[in-house]
Structure formats: C-alpha cells, structure tokens
Symmetry: C2
Subunit: 637 residues, 2 copies
C-alpha cells in the first residue's frame, strides 16, 4: 500500500523532515500546519522540494473546531477555511483533515454539523479540494468513527469523506467491530498509530505517548484488517505525537516509522480473512508487504567480544574463572575461542577489524552475536527487507563468510544455520581435549542490553521485524539513582531472550554503561547452569569475584516465600538471588563488572520459570551502585 | 509540627538518604522496606546511625495485601508479619503501615478484614508495636479513608489506628469533607503528597508523578487543615514517588522537601478556622511555621550581567542598540550602569567578584536580580526562614550593602526597598543628562529562565515560598527538536513575572542554554514598550538585529484573528508576533541571541493581556533553531 507519514511525527525543521521521510522510502507526507507556518520561505518551494524528493503531499492538517458552531462563528470559520484552501493550492495538497470540534460551545446537533460541513465541502470543491472528517476521541460531541460517519453520510457530498485514525478508535473502550462495514470508497485517508496502555486519558496518551504500530499495546493489525475489509485501497499514514520522537534524530525516526508500516502490513496479511470476502484476500496478496518468514532461532552460536592488547588477558582470566576453556586460536587472526557446554565466546583483538573499530568507541564489549537459525540466507533476506544494513566482514583465505547485518545499535548480528554452524570452528585450531571437558555452564540464557534514551521502542520493533521476536511485558526497575524501564524480546521457544533496558536518569549503573560510550551495549550476559550451587562453589574456587548481596535481602525472601533455613543459608552464603512464580523458581548470581562495562550472570531455571527475576533487579542495582558510587561521588554530580 | 519523610522520596542508598534528610532539618524518617533490604550491613547500625543524626524512625512501610484474604493465606501473612515485627524491633520503628489489599482475591467482607487486622494488632501489641491502616486509592475493596476508618473502628484495638495520605484522598473525585470529623487520637500518622492533574489514573499518577506539597494541583493545605481539625497533633510526613526525585541529588531533594512542609504549614495557618473550633486555632498558632509575610514586590530594580573584558564591549553595543544609555561608572569597581525608563542594567566585569566567579561557570549571563520590595530586611528574613542562603557580597568603602540571597539556581537575588532603592545609584557617578532622556522601553516585563531537567517543581516552590509568587497555568511548547515545559511564577500585581522553562530533550535551544553551562540561567529578558512599532523602527535604526519570522506565520494569524491588511503588513515588516485573548492583545519581537546565551524580547501589552504569547513560542523556537542548527549539525548528534 502507499505509505505516508505526518511531519509532526519527526523532529526538526520542515526541509530536514522531508529529506528524512524520503530517504526512509515513504511515498507521501501529511503536512502539519505548524511546520509550514514556521518554514522560512515560500510555500511553493516546499511543494517543489517534496516533488524533487519523490514525495506526494497527501494531506494538510489539522483544521480545528469547525462543525456545530453558531452561525456567526461559522461565517468566520469559512473565511479561515478559504485562507487555508489558498495555502493548500500553493502547497499542492488535495485533502484537508477536519477534526471533530473540541470547543466548549458546540451544539449537540448533527444536522447543524452536517449543514456546516456541506458548505465547507462546497467551498472545497470550488478549489478542487476534498475534506476528510475525523473523530477525535476527546471531541466535545463527536468522538467515534461511526458518529463521524453518520454525519458524513448526512452531508452526502462527493468532496467530503471520512478519515480514520487507529489511535482514536482503539484508545476508547467502545466496540469498533462495525468499522469493517464502512464503504471503502468513502474513506478518504487512514492514519495509523499505536500506544502503550499507561493508565491515562486518551488526550494525555495521544499528545505525548503515541508510538509507531508494533511498539504499543493497541490492535493496529486488526484495525488495518478491518480497513481492508471495507475495500479501502488508499494510503496508510502514520501520525505520531511522541515526546521521544520530538527529540530524536529525524532520519532514525523515519527509518523506524517505515519499518513499522511494513511490519504492520505483514501482520495484517496474516490475520484471518472472513470467508465471504475473497476480494479482500486477493488484495492483501497484492498489496501487503511480504518478506521472507522470520527465522527459527535455536540459540546463540557465539558471542564475540572486542578487546585490545591491554584488556585481553584480564578478560581471558575472567572467562577462565567462569569455567571457560581456551579452545583454540584463529588460523589467521588475533582471535581466540573459548567455550564450555554449548557456549562459545570469541575474543577478538585483530587490528584493523570491525571489532577493533567497535572497541575504539565502546571499549571492551560485545561487538557481535551469532544466532543459530534454520536458514541463514533467508534470515538475511528478511533483515534486509526490513531495512537492516548488511554487514560484510573482512574474510581471509579459506575463512567462512557468515551472513550478517548491523543491529540497530551498531553491533553485528551473524546468522548461522546447520551448515555454517558445523563449519564455524574450522577457522580455529581447536584443542580437542579442552572442548571435551564437562561443563557447569551449559548455554546462554539471555543477553541484556542498555539502550540510549528514546531507543527502546525502535529496538523492540527492530527485533520483532527482523528476527521475529516478541516483546514480553514491560517492567520498571528501581536503581537507587533512577528508574530503569525494561522490555525483553524473545522467541516462542525461549532459545533467544534479550532484555532491553533504558534509563531516563544518567546516574544509574545501566545509564553509565551507555552514556560513557555513546551507544547501546550489552551490559550483561546470563549463562545457564543445571546446578547453581555447584557453579557458585566452582567459580569461587577459581577466583571469580561474586557480587555481594546484603544479608537483609535474605530475611525478606524467607518472609515472602517461606524458604526453609538450610536452603536460605545456602543462597545467602553463595550470594544467590531467588524468585518464584507459581511452581517455577529462578536462582541467579552475578560477577562483578568488567571495566565498568558488562558483567555475567549465572542462572538456573526450575519448573518452567519464564522471567528474569525482576523483583531482584533493585537489589542487584543497589549492590552494583554500592560498589561504585559513594555519597561523595554523588554530591559532585 | 514534627516533620518526617519516607526514604523512597529520595534517590541514593540508605545512609546517603538519612544524611540528606537530617541535614535538611527533618525530625524523623519513614523507612521504606527496600531501602533496608538493600542496605549492606546490620539493621541495628541503621538505627544507631539515624539516632546519631538526630532522626527518629517513625514508621516502617509498606506491609501489603494483608486484610480480607482466605484463612490459609492469613496464616502465611501472620508468619510474614512476625518476621517484619522482629525487623522493626531491631530498627526501633514503632509503627507499621499496612496498606489496603490490591490483590485479585480479596473478600468484600469488612468483618473478615477487621477480624484479621485485630489478630495483627494483637501480635503487634506483644512486640510493643502499632499498626496503621491506610486506604490506597486503587485498593481492591478499600479505597477511601472513611472505609478504612469503618474497619479500624470495628477492629477497636488500641494498637491499630488510621494512616491518612493526602494523595489517596485528593486524587479521587470523592467528597472528603467528613475527614475533619475523625477522632484525631485514632489517626496514627499523616502522609502528605501533592500531584499535578495530568489526565492519568491515580495508580500511574502516584507511582511516577507525585510531588511535594505546593508543587502540584491538589488541595493539600485544605487537607492539612482538616487533619488539624480532628485534633491530630502528631507527625506530618512526606511520601513521594517521583521519577524526577528518584534521580535527583538527595541533598537538594531533602531541602526542597523540607521547604514544602514549612510552606504547607504557612498555608494551612492562613486557612479560615470554623468558629466552633477555637482549640484548633490555638494549636495552629503554636505548632505551624510562621515566617515573616512575603514581600510586596513593586518591580525589578536592576538586572546585573556578568561579562569579561572580551564580551563587555559587544554587550554594551547591544544595550545601546536597544536604546539604553550608559548612565555612569561605579565609583570603585569595574561596573557600569545602563538605563532607560525604569529599567536599570548593571554590567559587571570586576575581577575577583561574585560576577567574575559566575562568569567562569556560565559565560556572559545574568548573575543577579534586584527586586524592589516594601521591606528588604523582612524579605531577607523570610527567605532565610525558608532555607535560602544569605549572600554577602564584597562591599567597598561607602558602598551600599544590599540584603541578598542565593537563588536556587545559584545566582543572586537582591532585596531593595524605598530607602535602598533611592540610594542605589549613589555608588555610581551618574551622567544626569543621559538619565533624563526619553525612553522607548519603560520597564522589565518578564524574565525567563531555563532550568536543568528535574528543577521545575523545586524552583516553583522556591519562588512561591521565598518571594510569595504564585504559579500560573503550565504550558507545553514545541521546539523543533523537543518539547519545552513552562510554568510562570508571578506576583498578584504582575510587577514581577518569571517564566520557568525546562527541556527534556538536550537538543532544543532552551536546553542548550542550560546544558552548555551546567546550571539554570536567564535565557531572555522581556522589556515593555508603549509603542512597539516605534520601538522596532528605533532599534532597527540603531543597528539591532531582530529575529526574522517566516512570512507564512502571518498568513495564519490573519486567518485566526482576522487582522486587517495594513496592521498585518506592519507586524510582518517588523517581525512582530501577535497574540490575542479576549480583548487583550500581545505584540512582541526578539533580538538575536547574544553568544548563544540569552536574548531580549520587546513586548507591548494592550487591554489587560495577562500571558506570554505561548502560541507563538514554537515559531520563535523554530526561528532560533533555523539560525543555529542545520540538518548536518543534527545528523551528527
């Protein structure tokens, strides 16, 4: 379908916005009036510049507080409208959005509203323009699409039609099932927006917290499906009011926005079609985006760390404390492979490599993940269809070329499959004895990332679209120096779990991992064990330093969970945290951070526990903070 | 009254919090359980440390989801309670807060709730402890203080009483007038919090947006008055859950919090007392904070700018472009006085002075304001009573010592009165001819400040308490690179108006004035004229560079206000912005920023216009941004 976006959805000045919108691949644009008013130059230049960029101007908006007013006010409104029609003429915008009146003095009289809109449609027709009437969910009288539709039906003029907005429909608790029965040719435009359910009025939610489809909690795919069922085949457009996108770089926002519409189309394509509607099914096949299916991900094949000469040895020592063995060296590069169980860690200090560039910006850190998929090339194809940038690493003679992309955070995601996975270790000279040793840690449980402010929604969408992961319920975690918002993405088999975290405060441990290095980064990797007490003992014996947990914590979990004294003592002595949901238990402990950048977590899941121990996050954060920040440090902030 | 605060209201680790709370002057503290659990050390140490700081531990909280449960759950709850009673014993906390059950499985049976609470009270009594029962506004069954009170009355046990929380009462729409009829001796504790009205459910509002009394929209003074009418004479305590205080430095939060309780007491003292309640009136006189009354402020006597040798000449040139004359030099310092009409501007480049230190941090900027008051020493007394730091500037021989304080932002506020104001210019060698010239600009209309993130609420309270200013309605302004939140404080006579602005984004023009220099600062000063067209012509003739306004803006105001073509052309030609509310009109234009730091606004108010042209703020911000930031700059962010 044709794709458009309202200029209000991006930050910046009008020309910047148009450039970003065109670069992301949109077909058209809704011009939000303020952007035009504040543009320093003739309106015709905007029209020409959009055309040069290959963008149509689909809509001019908003025209407010028009219908249902007194005769005197109506006259003034028509004068105002004429001026805007002139402006639209210069701009080349064919359609004006009129949103339902939110004024205090609006007659509860659909006949009056219809008569006034008829006159507006007549005037518009003289200018060869059209009017789209939209119900705002907080309109004084008209709040729903069906009420707006009754009025448009009454007006019965070819130059007025309905504009639908998924937010205004889905933010209200009302039943909207009749939407699919609207006549599609009377729908002049469709605006799409998502939003999280935050316990706010629609007005507050709409003004500050809208998000792109796939980033919130509203059923936007179901909405689009209903729109398609009406026979509508026009443009779908995004209209987002968001405190976050208002301050984010417009290019990144536009890419995120375009990805959201493609992903929405893929989701709508998958919605069941009612039997009676064969033409809808046909149209979907033709019109809706159809990328390769998401990969089946069976796990993390390896994690690659970027190090330098100075940090390589202490990092290798940390890995050995965790029970990893040095499995071998790369045949042609300064790269080592460590492993235990199914976990493989690549340590890269090859000069002139991607890892070396990544190190320069981020310090010692995770620079790449390799995912085990059913079909690596198909996974790459899907990622590229969703706008991910392909990554071609430097490959030496006889070395394996692994399909890869850049993640939204700038690190690399490799796609392996059975064939590539089998070959992967052939680049290394492997010590067969080391590889055969029994392991206490068996696999990677989850990989947690810290994201810069504003990056949570785009990242969630990136992983949904590119990897087919699904978001879990969001949680808010209290660090002693600010709140951290967290949302995990994972696959249905839970063989890939990635908690994504942002900190609005710059003073939390999470934020410091980000802001010191200017980008997102892995802040911890959780490794699974089948016997956490044995793992704790073994790590300690090898010299690993475990994050100490305050004893008062253990009094509380005893009160909460009624643990027996022996088990409690074992947990306490090993600094192991505990959570329980139903019959599932989660036991976990942490290593101290490596160069303030990342740390490891050792976890044991028992009885189908399916979360990440969020109730324990504050004690972990407090313990990390205690190790790092004295009252004096803070006073200097 | 005794003053306390919950540890959850501040950021940091427990010991930091206790230090900050004691330093601010509080008598006691509520210990929020997580702070204790995450404290790395014996609970008894916390007790001793609080005692050493002179703080009592008044309350332990929260104990959740207790009443109205199944018998089996009740047994587990009592085991849990016993553990917490032990903890409270070690801590020396006499009172436990039990908040109403928010679980899904709660019996709608006050008798069961009362019986279970009776048993809890019995257990508490054995430990010499007490229970305070509080209604959460989102409790499953019990949501109001009167429902909680009916249950407490039924329990009828000396070890259980009521805890009131202003937030939970005032956030609901219910009538709470019966609160004053509660028996005061059955109220065991009173928690106070304010909140803005943001269009959210009480739960969302409570968890993230509570504020200290005087910073929100709730009638906390009326609430406290009702509490006093019950005969309650115990502790008043603050319990704030706020995303902002969670990441703000705890010392500043504690000072802000303490000021809020004093200010609340002053407000409650002023509330009318019902005739029948003479004892309440008496108690108020004894117990409630009673500072000197706020000063009557008749205007801004002078504004002082800190400059250095390099910036002094261009700044003086700017003042001369605005029509200011050099009135004279200071007798003993490197300080000049400029003036026109009633406006006086002091330009200070004296080395080794406060202005010189301020310059080092902030660059060329406003370092001091002098306010004309009815009684400068009384104003100073009030400010000090509210915890403002007295400022004693270096004074030379025969120079005037002006009473002064440090503002919350670190600049200086001088208090002058009739006597001092008359003497003020005697420190300068005044050129009588220059002083007598006619003036186009007559007085200071308003002074706008940019504040660092998180500082808006504390600043509003500072100006309310210290200067007796009142907040005007908040507005949200759209800069092209992020939202700016603004709240003006002013006196009833409108002789002092100060819009306070924060930008959550770091990319706005407003934010850049702050963040480049690490503190709040004046970003523009508005000067009033009685003839803005003459002023514009005159400034232009003197070489002032006026902020250019896009012509498209003028098409819109013509459409909105129906201005006639001649007047519109005059506005457009002079880059004058226009606003109208009722019969009041506001005309204003801006100079280009001086060294990216501040700028001047020229304003004319007609017909009682009482605002700041907020609808024009986005066009001003876009115009400022256009002058400063190209698409390329932004791409590099």
């Amino acid at each position: 379908m044709r794709k458009s976006i309202a200029t209000v959805s991006l930050s910046g000045r009008l020309i910047e916005k148009l450039e970003a919108i065109a670069a992301a691949g949109f077909d058209g644009v809704e011009i939000f009036e303020n952007d035009l008013l504040f543009h320093d130059g003739p309106v015709r230049d905007v029209r020409r510049y959009a055309a040069d960029l290959g963008l149509t101007i689909d809509l001019f908006q908003p025209f407010r507080d028009f219908e249902g007013v007194s005769d005197e006010q109506h006259k003034r409104n028509l004068v105002r409208a004429e001026r805007k029609f002139d402006l639209m003429g210069e701009l080349g915008a064919p359609l004006m959005l009129v949103c339902s009146n939110v004024g205090t003095d609006v007659a509860d009289d659909d006949g009056r509203a219809a008569a006034q809109l008829f006159e507006l449609a007549e005037r518009a027709a003289r200018h060869q323009l059209k009017i789209g009437y939209e119900a705002l969910s907080w309109g004084t009288r008209v709040r729903t699409f069906d009420h707006a539709w009754r009025i448009v039906e009454t007006v019965n003029h070819p130059h007025i039609g309905l504009i639908l907005d998924s937010f205004h429909t889905l933010a209200l608790p009302d039943d909207w099932s009749s939407l699919r029965n609207l006549p599609g040719q009377r729908i002049f435009f469709v605006q799409l927006a998502d939003a999280p359910r935050l316990g706010m009025t629609p007005l507050t939610l709409s003004r500050h917290f809208r998000s792109f489809p796939g980033q919130g909690d509203l059923d936007v795919p179901g909405f689009l499906q209903a729109v398609l069922a009406t026979g509508y085949s026009g443009t779908i457009s995004l209209e987002i009011f968001s405190d976050e996108t208002r301050s984010a770089p417009p290019r990144l926002t536009a890419e995120d926005a375009f990805r959201s519409l493609r992903f929405l189309e893929e989701q709508a394509r998958k919605q069941p079609v009612r039997q009676e509607n064969a033409s809808e099914a046909r149209r979907r096949r033709v019109e809706l985006f159809d990328p390769p299916p998401p990969p089946v991900i069976s796990g993390v094949r390896f994690v690659e760390f970027a190090v330098d000469q100075r940090s390589e040895r202490p990092f290798a020592a940390l890995l050995e404390q965790l029970g990893f063995r040095h499995l071998g060296r790369h045949r042609s590069k300064e790269v080592s492979l460590f492993g235990q169980g199914d976990i493989r860690i690549v340590v890269n200090r090859e000069p002139d490599s991607f890892a070396a560039s990544y190190f320069l910006v981020h310090g010692p850190s995770v620079c790449a993940l390799a995912l085990e998929t059913d079909d690596a090339l198909a996974a790459l194809g899907r990622a590229e269809a969703y706008g991910a940038a392909r990554f071609d690493g430097r490959v030496g003679p006889n070395e394996l070329a692994i399909p890869a992309i850049r993640s939204d955070a700038g690190s690399v995601i490799y796609f392996t499959d059975r064939e590539i996975a089998a070959d992967f270790e052939t680049d290394f000279e492997i010590d067969p004895d080391a590889a055969a040793l029994p392991a206490l840690l068996t696999r990677i449980d989850h990989i947690a990332q810290a994201l810069p402010d504003g990056q949570l929604d785009p990242s969630v969408l990136f992983y949904r679209a590119v990897l087919g992961l699904e978001p879990e319920a969001p949680v808010v975690l209290a660090d002693p120096y600010g709140l951290v918002r967290s949302k995990a993405v994972s696959n249905p088999e839970r063989t890939l779990r990635m908690p994504l975290n942002i900190s609005e405060s710059r003073n939390t441990v999470t934020a410091r991992s980000v802001s010191n290095y200017g980008g997102a980064g892995v802040h911890h990797i959780a490794l699974a064990t089948n016997d956490i007490f044995a793992a704790a003992t073994s790590l300690k014996a090898r010299g690993a330093v475990i994050l100490p947990i305050p004893v008062n914590y253990y009094d509380d979990i005893q009160a909460r969970f009624g643990l027996d004294d022996d088990r409690l003592a074992m947990l306490r002595d090993a600094n192991i945290l505990y959570d329980r949901v139903g019959d599932g238990e989660f036991l976990h402990f942490y290593t101290m951070p490596f160069e303030d950048r990342f740390y490891f977590e050792i976890v044991q899941r028992i009885g189908g526990y399916d979360s990440y121990g969020a109730p324990n996050a504050p004690v972990r954060m407090a313990a990390l903070a205690a190790g790092r920040m004295s009252a004096r440090d803070l006073a200097e902030l």
